[in-house]
Symmetry: C2
Subunit: 398 residues, 2 copies
């Protein structure tokens, strides 16, 4: 895999895309089996929706592969080769990680996305999708493997764990000799299971308890519009806003404006005592609310006396994802971006932009909420590592 | 810690160095207690040597801190701030990891080194050294903490785990909420214990089963000298050569020359059948030899028919540390550097150069033999992460 040339990789991505497009009826039939079983098991509508492969979603998967073709080869470059005083030339070459395992929920489109990203970056991938999508995943991986074989590439570059028994996930997480990294994608339970049990290095992704702090110097119309966007534009995503922090000095004016707007989408607002006093439409928050990622039409709201209190509150409850300040004060903007501990810190913009495409990285494999290896949206670069190339002419160490 | 300015950090490093230098008698007294107990417990001479703090070693610790002062601040820089089509400005700012835990053996100098590197990079550090060095470590950390306090810095930037019971290490390894990364430094057993049991992200360091492959086009004098250097210049280090792979075509000439030289230091050579036929001073290797990091005056030797066989053998048995080819053939050099999977791949130089100082990074916290976050010698940069700074003027996501 690491030796594949960029032209071969790109041609294969196109070929896989064509094969998926051509096989769409087969894919939808396999998917229909999953949906039938899921319905019998009483799967909730939101999850059923994510499981369902329509023509538009199949087109989306193919489009994703074609977008990858446009991106530069993420491996092969030797960065900053320098000559040491003893004549050794030392450079750092970008190389694939090796074998990447991805553990995810019942979203068959992730199967194709994950293949595309790992393949373009020269990695082999082991996929373990949710058991509810097993027929869809088997069909998709069968198509991908067939295209690889036809391109003269070892089809084991993509392996689907077809056993749905959980014990195989437990085994996978401990295969340090064979797997270089595990990336879990999904809800809190899935991710924590991997973090707690894997001995293979893990890149933690996803959970986002994102805050927006409205400073006393904020343009309140801007604050209102950004909050409305960050909360309601798409509620089930990790970069949606889950909690507001508002400076006391402008709370009387800001809160009713913000509540008016959020009520257009019937958002439930859970506030502290002060917030409830200001607007009777706000219900009282419990302590649990501050740490909750709702992924729903609910938001928490805290009134603070200072930016220090806001920063302490956010650094206590955030999940290291995306945090925003709305301010027109230079010092406050600088203080917030300096002191907030998160993958992305915003001034005067919606947290919804934390995303590989919006950041200009192209497709992403997930959003890292930890600090090791990669932080924030992870594109192809996050699927690479390096090796030092050292060119000598007989140097020995004195 | 993350907010400390570079001048304050550098002044504090100097101050700590002065304090250690001034307290050298106290330090040696504390160290003498450890040595007394270690001798009573029958500690081996090599380990006793590592435990012992002489004036020269104390000077070395101070010198290490002063060298850090010379290095640029590794945090604060915002890399490549770019403007997106919607006007958002997005840059990646280098920031400290946060809290770094270091688990190591009974080498008190690591206590000071680890403090210096984590402090300069803006991190807090939790130190857990070997129980045999507890009096030395307590004294050193006491001195460091006192200097921090006098500099107006929270002394909890450096915490020594003073309980020597192993259960506290087990707890430390699972404190995901408080610890950002664990770096184990020491032998195979210590490192594997951390890798297998930590839920906190780990950077694996150290084990080096390093090979030198002598290609058929090699300058044999150069090969001999590099092998002699890589094996015998210092035997107990992870970048020492532990195994030779020699092309069959030149084996008859190369092996006696290499054995002659290695026998100057009484190195035991354990070879495959072919090697034993060529030189009667070679003893027969068992299968276990290929995977063994001797850290001793022993080396294994395998004769191969091709570079492909050499690469397969090395990629099977190496530990991802440092691997070298001796060749004068351009294609072979390129093939070897492309296909060997290791942190550092050498052409015509001794593996002993894999080291932060030799690579020009300044001091190092260890040599990463895994692929995540950092690979190879880890300097200050490896102790940092980033956060995206996103500056808008009201952007919302459509």
């Amino acid at each position: 895999m690491a030796k594949l040339q960029i032209v071969a990789k790109n041609n294969t991505l196109v070929k896989v895309g064509d094969a998926i497009s051509l096989a769409r009826e087969e894919i939808k039939q396999a998917n229909a089996k999953d949906i039938l079983i899921a319905k019998e098991n009483g799967m909730k509508p939101a999850l059923l929706d994510r499981l369902t492969l329509t023509d538009a979603r199949i087109d989306g998967m193919v489009e994703g592969l074609l977008q990858l073709v446009q991106l530069e080869d993420p491996v092969g470059e030797i960065q900053s080769m320098k000559t040491r005083p003893n004549g050794l030339m030392i450079g750092y070459k970008k190389v694939p990680l090796g074998v990447v395992a991805i553990i995810y929920e019942s979203r068959p489109n992730v199967t194709v996305d994950a293949f595309g990203l790992t393949f373009k970056s020269g990695n082999a991938v082991i996929l373990r999708g949710g058991s509810d999508s097993i027929y869809s995943n088997k069909k998709l991986v069968e198509i991908i493997r067939k295209s690889l074989e036809e391109s003269g590439i070892n089809p084991d570059a993509v392996i689907l764990v077809t056993e749905t028994d959980r014990k195989y996930v437990d085994e996978l997480m401990k295969l340090n000799q064979y797997v270089d990294v595990i990336i879990p994608r999904g809800g809190h339970g899935l991710i924590q299971n991997v973090v707690q049990n894997a001995t293979v290095p893990v890149i933690e992704t996803g959970t986002g308890n994102c805050h927006i702090y409205v400073d006393k110097s904020a343009n309140l119309e801007m604050a209102r519009d950004i909050i409305y966007n960050a909360k309601t534009q798409r509620i089930g995503v990790c970069n949606a806003c889950e909690s507001l922090v508002i400076h006391r000095v402008i709370a009387d004016r800001a809160i009713p404006m913000i509540v008016d707007k959020l009520k257009e989408k019937n958002v439930e607002i859970r506030g502290d005592k002060k917030a409830c006093e200001i607007d009777s439409r706000i219900v009282e928050a419990s302590l649990d609310d501050w740490g909750t990622e709702y992924l729903d039409y609910i938001i928490s709201l805290k009134v603070v006396d200072s930016i220090e209190e806001a920063i302490n509150h956010i650094n206590m409850y955030n999940t290291g994802h995306s945090e925003a300040i709305i301010t027109n004060d230079y010092d406050m903007a600088r203080k917030f971006t300096d002191e907030i501990d998160a993958a992305a810190v915003y001034v005067n913009a919606s947290t919804r932009f934390t995303d590989g495409f919006e950041f200009g990285f192209g497709a992403e494999i997930g959003i890292s909420t930890q600090k090791m290896h990669a932080r924030g949206p992870m594109g192809l670069d996050a699927l690479t590592t390096g090796k030092y190339i050292v060119l000598g002419n007989g140097q020995i160490r004195e």
